[in-house]
């Protein structure tokens, strides 16, 4: 974790307004977060790509679940947890020559948990016993809360190798956008809980006191003594690793609040995701985490907003037949010059404009009443086609670069 020496201490030029460009040039970790379905993964990948192209840095994008074609474009097919350099050929195809390097990796939850266990286990036997324990397999594979922690843990691990100038991480879809922020602390709490200490006293020989009695009574009746013993056994195995886990999860928590880390909240201008994004941005500030930017994605084009446009559309709709009669000779003979057909097209086109204007105006209103003020507010227009390769990512990246 090398920190950079400040340069040009004596120079006092006014600080220019921050942009995504300056944000990505100064931070070591960028966490892209926000509600589901807003283009988090694409935004994270585009940011990393722009930094690699423009800053000459070695950049890693750590993504959770990229679209198939995007994964292919980043050379992530079947790569899993391993970091992988995006080949020059992909850049050539997009017509750019990067100054730096772009690396990409995916997050495989199960694999990451396994390697974490291997890291913390005191010996091979404990490691193997834990890995084979049915309870562990359930925790690491099936139940979703485990994603939240492991994504941050993985970020910490990669950051501590000091391999990359910048790591852009895409956060997993959580039930609640805050889950992954709380995950390290929750895990630490869990392992230092007094209840856990009761649980790991071999089940039969437990000292039952007034405080713990209801807990055991209830859990016994619900889960059965056998399962409770299984749980005990699992945590007894795990016991050797508590300290390591607690220490590690605290370190992960510290890394997230470090000045070198910034958060980029991605959203669309639809009401529901935007409220969620706002809430998230407020929470970041409350936790003294750095809100670097808000990226508003899939915003409808400006030309949909004008009153003038609406007036034209209304005229086209109301006077479709007259207009069609006038235009018919210009459009040609035969089917092209059929006034009835022209009138239909004019009406359809005009109605479609007015429909989209309703949505565009709603978006504009949402943007105007945005309740948070990040350092950088970037807007990405709606692209009418999917983004699935480096050229697409560059197109998006240039919009947010500033």
């Amino acid at each position: 974790m090398a920190s950079r020496a400040p340069k040009d201490k004596a120079k006092v030029t006014p600080v220019p307004a921050p942009t995504m460009d300056s944000l990505l040039a100064t931070k070591e970790i960028v966490v892209a977060c926000g509600p589901g379905g807003v283009g988090k993964t694409t935004t994270a990948a585009a940011s990393a790509l722009m930094a690699a192209v423009n800053h000459g840095s070695k950049v890693l994008v750590l993504t959770v679940d990229p679209a198939k074609r995007l994964a292919t474009a980043l050379g992530l097919d079947g790569i899993g947890n391993t970091e992988h350099r995006v080949p020059d050929s992909a850049f050539e195809a997009a017509g750019v020559k990067p100054r730096g390097e772009l690396w990409a990796a995916m997050l495989d939850t199960k694999e990451s948990w396994d390697s974490l266990i291997a890291h913390h286990a005191p010996d091979e036997q404990t490691r193997d016993e834990i890995l084979a324990n049915p309870l562990y397999q359930n925790i690491s594979g099936r139940f979703i809360q485990s994603h939240d922690y492991i994504a941050m843990e993985r970020l910490y691990e990669i950051h501590s190798t000091a391999e990359y100038d910048l790591i852009v991480v895409d956060t997993p879809p959580t039930r609640n956008a805050l889950d992954f922020l709380d995950a390290p602390e929750r895990l630490a709490d869990f392992f230092s809980s007094r209840l856990l200490r009761w649980l790991i006293v071999p089940y039969r020989s437990k000292l039952v006191n007034v405080a713990t009695k209801p807990f055991y009574q209830i859990s016994d009746r619900i889960l059965g003594t056998e399962f409770m013993s299984d749980i005990s056994e699992f945590f007894i195995l795990f016991q050797t690793m508590y300290d390591g886990f607690v220490e590690r999860s605290q370190a992960v928590g510290r890394l997230l609040s470090d000045r070198r880390t910034t958060f980029v909240v991605v959203s669309t201008l639809e009401a529901t995701p935007l409220r969620e994004a706002e809430f998230f941005a407020e929470q970041l500030t409350e936790r003294k985490l750095h809100l670097g930017a808000i990226v508003l994605n899939k915003v409808l084009p400006d030309y949909l907003q004008g009153r003038a446009g609406a007036k034209v559309a209304e005229a086209m709709k109301d006077r479709a037949e007259d207009l069609a009669a006038e235009l018919a000779p210009t459009l040609g003979t035969g089917a092209l010059g059929d006034p009835a057909q022209i009138a239909r097209v004019l009406t359809e086109v005009a109605e479609s404009y007015l429909n989209f204007q309703v949505v565009a105006l709603r978006e504009m209103e949402e943007r105007a009443t945005l309740a948070v003020a990040p350092d950088v507010l970037a807007t990405v227009p709606f692209f009418d086609t999917d983004i699935y390769d480096l050229s697409g990512l560059l197109r998006l990246g240039e919009q947010i670069w500033g």
Partner: protein
């Protein structure tokens, strides 16, 4: 499944609605419940991820664990696993927990973290209990997003695998029976005609079949854009957008018509991009599973009016 015809959606008693984030899962769930209620059913809708958004779809005050009527015949509640546990202990096990909620809540929270599936099983348990004992014609669940739904629906099996005896075990048996019966229970996946939602829906369909006992009762494709025009009309449109014709149109309407045509071009391209994803969806989903289409809603805002509009479209798609 096999040769048996699928039970129609509104005739099922327990319907889970899931979907990738941002596809309109809650919109569809709330519209489905409203549609059922408007057809005379006594309906409960339950929000699982208690973000408190559901009430807004009916313009009702925030909902809690105790259900409340939000529309005639339609009751809404928000899941709370702790409250579900307390209710379960009281009603089923006759262990009253009065006062002293603090330590129990803490112990519960701990247990739920330690023992995987406890939270999920309490949620599913409460829903099954409502269906079995509380006289609803239909229980609609605004379920977790598609990334999380499998863990939820497969919880009874998972717990059955881990817990051999105990009360939970006897409970999971009847829950499993209810979840596995396609005449009672069904899962609805909400999707939009976009790359990731379609991919996720196809993957979800496979996982539902392989990892749960619940039947996929339908896929609802939300926000389908209208088809602006056919091939002939598109030729007319292209001719209109040519410089000469456009200049004439500008003069006739006394304004700049280019943005209006540009918007139509955007709408056409969007629809075209999306239709390739729709084809992929149709190919990727078992042909027995009905696909229902809901139009893109060019509406000013959310709320009861929008929910009603979606419910009406859904009713049309279901043939009512």
């Amino acid at each position: 499944m096999g040769a048996d015809p699928m039970t129609p959606l509104l005739e099922r008693k327990l319907v889970f609605v899931t979907g990738k984030g941002g596809t309109g899962k809650t919109t569809v769930a709330s519209a489905l419940a409203l549609l059922a209620a408007s057809r005379g059913k006594k309906v409960l809708i339950c929000e699982i991820d208690g973000k408190g958004e559901l009430a807004g779809y009916y313009e009702a005050p925030p909902t809690g664990f105790k259900e409340r009527e939000v529309q005639p015949g339609l009751f809404a509640m928000t899941m709370n696993t702790e409250a579900a546990l307390r209710e379960y202990l009281k009603l089923q096990l006759r262990i009253p927990i009065v006062g002293r909620i603090g330590p129990v809540a803490k112990a519960f929270d701990f247990l739920a973290t330690a023992a995987p599936g406890v939270r999920e099983i309490l949620t599913v348990g409460k829903l099954c209990f409502e269906v079995r004992d509380n006289g609803w014609d239909m229980v609609v669940v605004d379920a977790p997003a598609s990334g999380h739904i499998i863990g939820q629906l497969a919880a009874p099996q998972a717990v059955n695998g881990l817990v051999k005896v105990g009360l939970i075990r006897t409970q999971t048996d009847w829950m499993l029976e209810m979840l596995s019966d396609p005449a009672i229970t069904g899962l609805v996946a909400v999707c939009t005609p976009e790359e990731m939602p379609v991919t996720e829906t196809i993957e979800l369909a496979v996982r539902v079949r392989e990892e749960t006992t619940v039947q996929l009762a339908g896929v609802i494709v939300n926000r389908v854009l209208p088809e602006l025009f056919g091939r002939q009309e598109e030729a007319v449109f292209d001719a209109l957008a040519a410089p000469g014709a456009l200049a004439e149109l500008d003069a006739l309407v006394d304004g700049d018509a280019a943005p209006v045509l540009e918007a139509a071009r955007l709408a056409v391209t969007m629809r075209r991009t999306r239709s390739t994803h729709l084809e992929r969806l149709r190919e990727g989903i078992d042909p027995e599973v009905p696909l229902l289409y809901l139009p893109f809603l060019f509406a000013r805002s959310h709320g009861l009016r929008a929910t009603r509009q979606v419910a009406a479209s859904l009713g049309e798609e279901l043939g009512y």
